[in-house]
């Protein structure tokens, strides 16, 4: 039982923690290599200290990013919510609307998902729950036209924050991504003075594909923040570390359930602790 073998076991254990948290092979290897270097340089011997050092490295990666506050000031502002299918866009919109309304903001929702079955009804139910209006067209209509109308309504009603739902779309589908481009154009043209926040919603259960999602959505949209949903499960959502490192997009909010109140700010320290199974 040499010192060397204890050491390697420890590294393997750390590697396992990172990989099973979906941090990804590349990021894991890089972080572990850095850790090895630091341990060598600083002649660290205590295994407990090594774990803390690793936590610190992950914390540093996430802390390097710009502010994680939701950017809705000065008003009027517009939040566009995008992402692949089923990640929690519509639900997150309900939660965000609730949060902003509690802060005293005048909020309006736009049913920009005209494609998925009953997506409009779903958003309408959220609007009713929260007590905010929803601008909607028929199922199958042009999403850009809905957003156009919603912007006019937001102006006319002196709305502080307009939150726009969009249909779930896989990032590798060119035509669907182009359709999103059209929506952004309408926003640029019709609401130039509005503060803009474009949120990409990621499901914490997602593995390495989330990096590709973030990359591709970032190409068509100026993604300003991430919403990481479904953290109330057993998935850790570690992929956001790789995304932070590569793409420099901060996590702004996390989803921890299906209810209106199940939305929290992203706390780096808590998130990193949870990666290690500590609450």
């Amino acid at each position: 039982q040499s010192y060397q073998s204890i050491d390697e076991d420890l590294f393997e254990e750390l590697e396992e923690i990172l990989i099973t948290a979906d941090i990804g092979v590349n990021t894991t290897m890089e972080v572990i290599d850095e850790l090895r270097n630091t341990i060598k340089q600083e002649k660290i011997k205590d295994p407990q200290e090594i774990k803390n050092l690793l936590k610190q490295k992950l914390t540093d990666i996430l802390n390097q990013l710009s502010s994680t506050d939701l950017n809705v000031e000065p008003t009027p502002s517009i939040i566009l919510v995008v992402g692949v299918n089923g990640v929690g866009k519509t639900t997150s919109i309900g939660k965000i609307a609730h949060r902003l309304k509690k802060q005293g903001k005048r909020v309006l929702l736009a049913a920009g998902d005209t494609f998925r079955a009953a997506a409009i009804d779903q958003l309408k139910i959220w609007g009713d729950r929260v007590g905010v209006d929803v601008i909607k067209h028929q199922e199958g209509s042009d999403p850009a036209a809905v957003i156009y109308d919603a912007i006019q309504a937001a102006r006319a009603r002196n709305i502080d924050v307009l939150i726009c739902d969009t249909a779930g779309r896989l990032h590798n589908k060119k035509n669907l991504m182009n359709e999103l481009g059209k929506v952004f154009k309408v926003v640029e043209r019709e609401y130039p003075q509005a503060t803009k926040e474009i949120l990409l919603v990621l499901d914490a259960t997602t593995g390495q594909n989330a990096i590709q999602q973030a990359k591709t959505f970032k190409e068509v949209a100026n993604i300003s923040g991430l919403v990481l949903t479904k953290l109330d499960g057993t998935a850790k959502g570690g992929i956001v570390i790789a995304i932070s490192r590569e793409l420099n997009i901060p996590v702004k909010l996390i989803g921890v359930g299906e209810k209106m109140e199940d939305l929290q700010e992203f706390h780096v320290k808590n998130f990193v602790s949870a990666l290690f199974g500590e609450e």
């Binding site: 396992e16 990989i19 099973t20 948290a21 979906d22 990804g24 092979v25 590349n26 692949v84 299918n85 089923g86 990640v87 929690g88 494609f115 998925r116 079955a117 009953a118 997506a119 009804d121 779903q122 309408k124 139910i125 959220w126 729950r129 199922e139 779930g168 896989l170 990032h171 590798n172 589908k173 499901d203 259960t205 997602t206 593995g207 390495q208 594909n209 989330a210 590709q212 479904k230 109330d232 499960g233 057993t234 998935a235 850790k236 992929i239 299906e258």
Partner: protein
Amino acid sequence: MVFEGLAEKLQNTLKKLKGKGKLTEQDVAEAMREVKLALLEADVNFKVVKDFVKKVKERAIGVDVLESLTPGQQVIKIVNEELTDLMGQTQSKLTFASTPPTIIMLVGLQGAGKTTTCGKLSGLLKKQGKRPLLIAGDIYRPAAIKQLQVVGSQVDVPVFTMGDKLSPVDIVKAGVEHGINHGNDVIIIDTAGRLHINEELMEELQDVKSTTKPHEILLVIDSMTGQDAVNVAEEFNGKLGIDGVILTKLDGDTRGGAALSVRAVTNKPIKYVGLGEKLEDLEPFHPDRMASRILGM
């Protein structure tokens, strides 16, 4: 990306061995590192990868290095065979009841694709000459019932609903009776998305199961799922005893390593894959294609 050249990497790692005779433990270990990275990068679960690599290692050590094939190709061949073996050699079909109706229940995490797949599957079975009925058993998600009604009408399949005020157990009980009275030979139950660790909601599924005695409980899994796929599959299988899996959203660019994870921990076959949002986008699962996809080849 690690994958883009797994085949090439293996060739390079093992090129020097050409004509050497047999693969040694050391040679195989080098190659297995690449395989391990590729599988992890494809989201195959850490423990599943460990077991898999161990198995391939045992088979690969001592294999003859033929002149006609590069050693890399040989290792790939073994990897591919083992992967296909793990994934199931053949297509696995649905089991139909000897006395209709056949009852099928779709379960899974939130947003996995259950409701859409209910529509797809009922449409497919209808085309095969069945008379399906859909039961709206999700009383929680906003507009879940409406969603099922819309997809049902798109494939021209009736939808049984009792609103969202009764318990799912009461709804499915009445729904199955309704189906029997109306001569439906396949009844597909949509259930609410739930977390595998939600005791109360998992119990609700157990109650739905004991009430309806489904012939097929199918776990719907998003093919983009990462390491957590094993936890989800283990819990759903442990608590319900699933009969198979439907893998959704394979029209994306995910490697889909979750398929391997789920298969490895439950030993239950993947029966269908979802390949789009449209209701015709459902196909039988091909184990061999999935193996190549996971390896990026």
